[in-house]
Symmetry: C2
Subunit: 318 residues, 2 copies
């Protein structure tokens, strides 16, 4: 497949870097202010070097990537809320040209799922978005294989930053503020950690799962969200005395989307440690499935993107 990669953060760069290993060609790449295009395939190494040295991917306007020759648009710009722009517009531009879209950007599938599916129905292209839920963990493809109607609930640890903080608080008996500073030093938490520690990121993933399970209708406004800022170190100590610990658990069950700190068994399946994520699927006929792995990171998320690309039919067959 010929890929146009829009967004040159860790995920976009990793997609471009790994594409050739999966026998794909990158014909266009864009960051927020520039683009590089070559219908015969970009010299990805040179483009990534230019990004690193000059903070641009090429000399063209960013929009040039959207107009380039490609089969699949990989949308890897930062997640935005509400109108989910510019990611949503990028996806629509590809669908309007009867091209496929693979999203790493959570905004369009969390905030404008119904709009996006409506545009997909009018297109010969398809939309896939495995990378938006828990990075390398094959959550959506497993739901798809089981059939959404046969999945009765989803629960999980869906944010590595919050999980790292809770794990360290429990292990070291430290308070939230101490551990946050440590996580920021390690690069596990952002300077502004709100998106992760307030539960927004986990909630977006749950909203996406709800849209898949219930065929749309959900946005972030439909989620009940509580973060981890107010979890006292003492709560973790008390939990430990009882063989339990606290995790930021997201759930989609009986039509409700919720994220919040929950008591879980200390050595139980949901108590993954550090930055790991876990997705737990309750199924109608096959019991409970647990899938754990790396929920973030450039190559990890790029692997999910490239898995989606591999699942798409060639466009001449569409």
């Amino acid at each position: 497949m010929r890929l146009a990669v829009v967004g040159a953060g860790a995920v976009g760069r990793a997609v471009a870097d790994l594409a050739s290993e999966y026998d794909h060609v990158v014909t266009a790449m864009a960051d927020s202010s520039s683009a590089a295009v070559d219908p015969d395939g970009l010299d990805v190494e040179a483009v990534l070097r230019e990004k690193s040295e000059e903070d641009r991917v090429g000399t063209l306007d960013a929009d040039a990537a959207l107009d380039a020759e490609y089969d699949v648009l990989v949308e890897a710009t930062p997640t935005t809320l509400d109108d989910a722009e510019p990611g949503y517009g990028h996806a629509v531009a590809a669908l309007d040209r009867d091209r496929h879209v693979v999203l790493a950007n959570k905004g369009p599938v969390a905030e404008r799922y119904d709009d996006l599916r409506a545009r997909e129905r009018e297109s010969a292209g398809q939309v896939l978005f495995e990378a938006t839920v828990a990075g390398a963990i094959p959550a959506l493809s497993t739901v798809d294989d089981l059939g959404p109607d046969h999945v009765t609930a989803v629960r999980g640890v869906l944010n590595g930053t919050a999980n790292f903080i809770l794990t360290r608080m429990a292990a070291e008996g430290l308070d939230y503020e101490h551990v946050l500073a440590e996580a920021q030093d390690l690069g596990v938490a952002e300077a502004d950690p709100a998106f992760d520690v307030d539960g927004t990121d986990a909630a977006l993933k749950c909203v996406i799962l709800a849209n898949v399970l219930y065929d749309g209708g959900y946005t972030l406004d439909d989620a009940g969200v509580q973060g981890i800022r107010d979890v006292p170190g003492e709560a973790l100590e008390l939990a430990a005395e009882d063989g339990r610990t606290i995790r930021l658990i997201g759930s989609v069950e009986d039509g409700a989307v919720r994220v919040g700190p929950r008591l879980v068994p200390e050595h139980g399946t949901l108590a993954v440690t550090g930055t790991r994520n876990i997705v737990q699927l309750e199924t109608e006929h096959a019991g409970r499935l647990n899938i754990s792995g790396r929920g973030a990171g450039g190559p990890e998320t790029a692997t999910a993107v490239l898995g989606d690309v591999g699942r798409l039919p060639p466009l001449d067959e569409v």
Copy 2:
């Protein structure tokens, strides 16, 4: 899709029972000595009642199912070794008619993988076999999504009977023979438990994984296999003193297929309890993925079969 279900054990019966929930029609069903065929779709409930009451699925010869109208042959007869008959012959009969084959029977993909793939190449039909490795756990589809070249190793607990026995031995401080008798009473172990406790079943699953990872070339003869009969209760006690326990671990790594009792951390990811299975994939770019769930059972395995059926292209598009 129109399904011909060959084999009327727990898995075959569950596939027939659940097919309509996945919008498929069962046009033929066979056990070892009889068949029922209806090109418009069998009354599955009546067929299963006849199986239960009369120990036959219909009044036709068993071979009639192979000659029926169908899109997908579901091969769910008991696993056999060496020539893998009659399962292998059933699969070839379907491929020769340019039909798809979905296997729950491990024999053909463990013992005659290369032969089967050669026949598939000459057919318009495809062969899928998710159900042969760890029941409901989506091991093969995840390998397929990652790309076999990008999976560097697979490890796992792949036999629920052996895992139940080891779990009970550790929890109760009992010897193998005591727990085996209990497992037989509970129906978790067969009267002749050799296939499970000697590691053969786990080894077949590893051989199938090796064939997928390395594009064929493996049979059971290539696996180094040790079972759990000789694990003394004391070994589990000693392991527990050190925070560890023993599990029957199968692995495919660096071209080698091995099954045997191994020390693992007591609360670690591989130490699943009871009859649960786990598959651990080491990937080149996405770190380690763990998938745990029910590795056996009629509806659980049927779910994997029906997931495969859903992945197959309509035959008129082939």
